[in-house]
Amino acid sequence: MIRRRSLLVGAPSLALLATGALAAPSALTPETILLPRAGKGPRIVICGGGWGGLSAARHLREELPEADIVVLERNPVFWSCPMSNKWLIDVVDTAFLTQDLLHPAAKWGYHLVQCEVTAIERDKKLVRTSKGAVDYDFLILAGGIRNAYDAWFGDDAAAAEYTRTHFPSAYIPNAEHLALKNKLKNFKGGTVVMTLPPPPHRCPPSPYERACLMAWHFKVNNIPAKILILDPKPKIAPIGAGYKAAFDELYPDIITHVPNAKVKEFDPWNKRIMTEAGDFDFDDAVIMPPHQASEMVFYADLIGTTEDGKSTGWADMNPRLFHANADEDVYIVGDSMGAISPHFGHYPKSGHVANYIAKIVAANIGQRVRGQEVVAELPDNLCYMLVNGDPREAISVEFTYSVGSDGLVHQNQIDIDVRTPDLLEEDFVWVDGMFNDFLR
């Protein structure tokens, strides 16, 4: 007696149809449907399978067991940006940062399709991708950031491409991370320039962490290198005192922090950068252009505008419920999110916040589908930053949020400037908890 259900090869079945790649190859047309609907509940399409998107998928599955949950991700393998600076100096290995995406999809039960989002037609509730169109009842945009080279170079795509290829920013997974590590390991000496994006940008304390760990690599390997941090801000922030102590005490001959160094002009071919704090020649560079919301927020036409009509570069969204102001069936989760409060601007663009907002949005969508009252929740944030390779010592910053009588969100920031090994131990406990929540 056959107890297990079996599938007849050749018979039409949901599972086969669900993976377009298994169907006979045919040209993609605007009518090509990526996935037929499955399940009795609403379909929720999540664009982006990073920290925010995978967290949303997992928690939506628990909120709405009958929902049809689809994650669209362009990368074949998950790569964590959090912990990637530590990976540069081998505190963790590549396996630690990566995860096959099929595992969480199978474990929690959602569709995962590797494809590029090419357009979003909100009037039709349709996402177009490199593998066909997929319709939705709720859409979650969790694409992270884009590198806004165009803010510097306009439409000079060659300049942007030359810069990206030669001086990768390594803030978007994952080719650039590998390129940066190779460059670091092969660097023989000279001046390395690191430009920081103007705020708001992804993971605010992390460029300084990267500078510390690159400097540590140069120090222990006796590589005659200098790192110039060109910071558009007037001072190091967050954890300014902790970073300053690390720069001054651990890397006094290597790291120079240059405040108010907003980039004016950049010549990647001649390795020269002109800033408001002076002009600098370099041998190599980590060039971080301004950050903006991921492309798909632009495709969905959900980017905010300032009072004088300029693009904010970030999603125009409800700061408490995280849906677009123009479309309450479209949510924005993670780094693409726009300003939250006039008191502090954006939530920190961190993996921790992306995971937290994903959980809140999953709960809120669950409440809507069940016809319950939607409860607005607040996240918190936590970042641990390694500043020393031996002994391994970290500093940290913690943010908590509350709503004031003005109805606005207020932020409380706790910088821990004393570098200690126990903060790195807590970092590993934290990241294990996170990975267990949405990935492993």
Binding site: G404, S405, I414, I416, D417, V418, R419, T420, D422, L423
Partner: protein, 108 residues
Amino acid sequence: MANPPRIWISNEAPAKDEIVRVRAQVVHVMESGLRQDEAGNPIPRDTLERFEARLNEALLLDWQPETAVAQNPYIEFTFRARESGVLKMVWSDASGIFAEAEKTITLS
């Protein structure tokens, strides 16, 4: 405690009579008693009142912060490493001991 004291020591194995530098930070609101809540009522004072550092029994430092000390108080001090032993640090506020930390000092 969710956020224990953070301690950094320049050298946990100093030579005898070497000057050792210590940094310590705790998370504490340091409410000054000078602010009002949203209804206009005074927010009661809640400050750290004392920090003591001892090497074994010997008192090295007694610090009494007042309202001018910043939130999440940071203290850096130095001492002469006269003997091996336990460096014990205790933070207190109006309700008693707020936090404690120990580090072992071993003369090299």
